[in-house]
Symmetry: C2
Subunit: 590 residues, 2 copies
């Protein structure tokens, strides 16, 4: 049974991500340490006692669709209602619309808990938060006034409609179109796929944000506009009007997150209303729709990274619980005729320790990214610096934790042995759920390319250099400590950071020399390299700050057992591209 | 759609695993190169045209049970009947019982194809082959005469009943019991779980091999005996008699291989027959049941390793096909307004190339293990040497390909992007199916421990040293070639083999010094290290032997992009255990 890891979350916030200094500087004046603790504790209770109990039925029954009407799994509506009542939908939302305006460090910490309890449940509200964000930053005052408050309270949910069958990673290929009606509104036509919670029975209305092209729009990504398309039109007094011409044609049968309805949405086929075309309102400038998306994309990517942290934490807890209970084999000290709990076996310990440190390193990176986004928002003087930091960390914070979510959940299955493959145990579903996170919100390959091509060159490479220097200070502080474990671990992390610097400079050099293929082919191993090195440094930072010998031991384990991969990855980054480029054409020849 | 990779399989057999010399020496006199080709080609056709088409319905419908009666998925019975008619059940079976007595290299090559087509289908007959093997080596002439022929023809299937709820990896905890009836037969009582094809509708009778304890048996593994327990008793004339007191109480709902009924079998609860107790016959000596199992365990473990190869191959083909078809984004040379197939993107190429070489390295290792078992059987003069080689290679050939099956299938999901998570695409099911193989037939952790504790010390360590020296010769030959790719790859493989030697000697030293914990905690990274180094050397052997520049490029890619991990793993093996042992106790404290 999931228990919110309040100690670990608090440690990651205060000892690693910068919450302590954030509070001390009073950057978000309403926020106190007591309030943080109260929120974490109450969120932990809600995740464990309300959401987690409906996770299994969500997987087993799944979301259903009939004639465009989606039914979520039994009990999910009720949990959503309670969740809104508890104010959880409004944690990060702007205060002027009834939100609590809390920092991302808080909203991401509680989001981790929702995802540990049920990824399929948590992803719905996550999309609404993204939609609120986009509207608040780009919509007209009229639209804001009409829509945001009810989305903040949770009375209405929001969706993001980007993908079309021919346009996934490549949004330039979008075909959905918007025709002006002459009254400032538009008629939207097109098919959108993979729309999370595109239709549901949680709320009376659904506010779709839809990317589409205006009639005279230029081709490619510079001709895409963003529209607000409500399921039901909203009257001036806020009551619901006519059904808009949008419906859910089908939902996908997926490997995991079965409770989350993944919808194919049809806009403008004439099913509803007098004439075909879903009525929509432009959000932001014409042809600038992708810019509106970009402002929320960092947040959405971090939120998906947090899903990885959440599912890894759930898998870690479940495996550890099983390993303490399940008895097989003997170790020195086992009484005659008895068996030892498998947690006593070194090979099982390796799996459990790796699950633990990979989860913690993922959390540290994700929370550090949340901290940077809070600093960009609250620390006006260094806003530009922190925005670069968010931009640098976001692809890492999306990709690494989601990869680790899969790896940790898979290790969790393995710890359970044969029982891990049986659905009843609840280990397999975590792996099935986790598998989506490296794919959506920009595949992890896209993240790696973003990191290398767009983020390393920030401030001419100086930003990433500064980041690596900060991490070096953490490692130096550990090395200079008087603790054995930390001293060795500090040396290992410094070695990993030196490798990271070498790989970074190599890639900056390739980019500078116009060798784009070499940079692109090294992107995925580079992201992993940087995440491992950063994770090692951040775990050390936490161990030093907390003075907790247990955390020092875990940082030492991470440094010893996961950081030697950094040296290997450095070689792959620097030496591996030639053979990749040479062999690549073979794939097409077959 | 799966197409049997005849060229790759043939290459692995002839250029890597030793089939060429095996034929030249006429070790299996009836076997010719033409016959090998004919078998591979016909098996490839059967796998692609008969088995593969029923794979999806097997996953979607799954096996069902009602009142102890199991129904396999629609069409599966018919495919099994055709498969037996085609003689595929008897490929490896002894000739005196109607089998074809073909070498393991052949039976494993065709088994790979059955598994590429459908793991859930292929696993059933695999168990029968194991049961035949155990009976042929250990049963009385009377039992052999009565049972084996019909198991060879496929008229009856066999099962292996080892696991009980409290006894999985640790068979010492077995509780099933056997009571002598005084007439040379026994009554068997107990519950067995995870019994693959324990009940089914393919065959009229099912021959269960069951581990149980005699009344006065010593505790632990030295008190376990093996019994033959048919579902229906068999009359002297071979016709079926009374129903025996064994039935299927339930089948498991699993993450994958849904078509394979995984049964809980109840022996002796009195449901059938005059008095409780399933009637069984002792196979082999009393209390020597585990020895009977051990003789077939190597074969069964290799067969599971082959499952990993098969599912990886299927995933590789599917992802490559998708990547050539799916268009997103642009690369240099893409026409204006068009998109490039994603196979053109370097990051996608990295995934596809890794899928390819990891599949090929897994196949090379598994086939080399099959070759060793053939040599142990046919090369009487060096039988002892080859038996050691089988023993050394088996844990590697079980664990590495099954780990790669999961990794490659997961990469396959990733290549498909969002479509990979949709079940209809057929990529996700390969990952769900693949996930069992690292668990059953001895978890991969058990394999790693077996490798380190029991296999490295063979002949005082000389056997593994000899093996590594053979691999070095392959790498030297590559380095000495005049080809650029092979020369660089040869140097990399030599470096990896030097690391492997260092790690091996370190572990032998730890074992010699009685530092068991250090050896145990390093087992899993060591197995991976050795498999990667061996895989690199074997791919080079194949590239040199075939003279095929495409194979040289792939070996180069493997050496450049996967072998640097060997150095990292060496550090984990040698340096990682201290921190693991230090941190391990934390797990119990939580």
């Amino acid at each position: 049974m999931y228990r919110a890891p309040i100690d670990d979350i608090r440690h990651a916030l205060f000892d690693i991500a910068g919450m302590r200094e954030f509070l001390e500087r009073d950057l978000a004046p309403q926020l106190t340490e007591d309030l943080v603790d109260a929120i974490l504790s109450e969120a932990g209770r809600f995740a464990a006692e309300e959401i987690a109990p409906v996770a299994r039925i969500g997987d087993e029954v799944g979301a259903k669709v009939e004639d465009g009407v989606v039914t979520t799994p039994p009990g999910w509506r009720q949990v959503y209602a309670k969740w809104c009542e508890g104010g959880w939908n409004s944690v990060s939302a702007p205060e002027e619309y009834g939100g609590q305006g809390l920092p991302a460090m808080i909203s991401m910490a509680v989001l981790e808990m929702w995802n540990s309890a049920s990824m399929g449940f948590a992803i719905g509200p996550t999309l609404t938060i993204g939609a609120i964000d986009a509207l608040e930053k780009h919509a007209s005052e009229e639209l804001k006034a009409r829509y945001i408050e009810k989305m903040v309270s949770g009375e209405w949910m929001g969706t993001m409609n980007l993908t079309e069958p021919q346009a996934g990673s490549d949004l330039a290929a979008l075909r959905a179109r918007a025709e002006p009606r002459g009254d400032g509104t538009y008629r939207i036509f097109g098919q959108k796929i993979f729309i999370t919670y595109g239709e549901q029975d949680f709320t009376d209305n659904i506010i779709h944000l839809v990317l589409a092209r205006l009639p005279d729009a230029p081709p490619g990504t510079k001709g895409i506009s963003l529209f607000l398309v409500p399921k039901f039109l909203v009257n001036e007094d806020g009551t619901l009007g006519a059904r808009n011409d949008v419906f859910c044609a089908s939902i996908e049968k997926k490997m995991g997150i079965h409770g989350s309805p993944t919808c194919t949405m049809i806009y403008g086929d004439g099913r509803f209303g007098d004439e075909p075309g879903a009525i929509g309102w432009l959000v932001g400038e014409p042809n600038r729709g992708l810019n509106c998306m970009f402002t929320m994309m960092n947040a959405a990517r971090l939120a998906v990274g947090i899903q990885g942290v959440g599912v890894a934490e759930a898998a870690r807890q479940k495996a550890l619980e099983y390993a303490k209970d399940r008895k097989q084999g003997r170790v020195p000290g086992t009484h005659a005729g008895e068996m030892a709990p498998i947690v006593k076996h070194q090979d099982v310990r390796r799996m459990l320790l790796s699950m633990t440190v990979l989860t913690q390193a993922s959390r540290a990176i994700a929370y550090a990214c949340a901290h940077a986004s809070d600093m960009a928002r609250f620390d006006r003087e260094r806003g530009a610096f922190w925005l670069e930091r968010v931009n640098l960390l976001t692809p890492i914070a999306k990709a690494f934790p989601t990869d680790m979510g899969v790896d940790v959940a898979s290790l969790g299955v393995q710890v359970h042995g044969g029982m891990g493959f049986i659905e009843e145990t609840g280990a397999a579903v975590l792996l099935r759920d986790a598998r989506i996170a490296p794919i959506y919100e920009g595949t992890n390959g896209i993240q790696a390319i973003d990191l290398v091509i767009r983020k390393l060159p920030l401030s001419g490479g100086e930003h990433v250099r500064g980041f690596l220097n900060e991490l070096k200070q953490d490692a130096e502080a550990a090395r200079a400590s008087n603790q054995d474990d930390l001293g060795i671990a500090g040396a290992r992390v410094l070695e990993a950071l030196a490798d990271t610097t070498e790989a970074t400079e190599y890639l900056l050099g390739q980019l500078g020399a116009g060798k784009l293929d070499h940079a692109l082919s090294a992107a995925t191993p580079f992201l992993r390299l940087m995440a491992l090195a950063a994770g090692g440094a951040l775990l050390l930072r936490g161990a030093v700050a907390s003075g907790d010998p247990a955390r020092a031991k875990l940082a030492f384990y991470f440094a010893d057992n996961h950081l030697s991969e950094v040296g290997a990855l450095k070689r792959v980054v620097i030496e591996g591209s030639d053979s990749l480029i040479a062999a690549g054409d073979l794939l097409e020849a077959v």
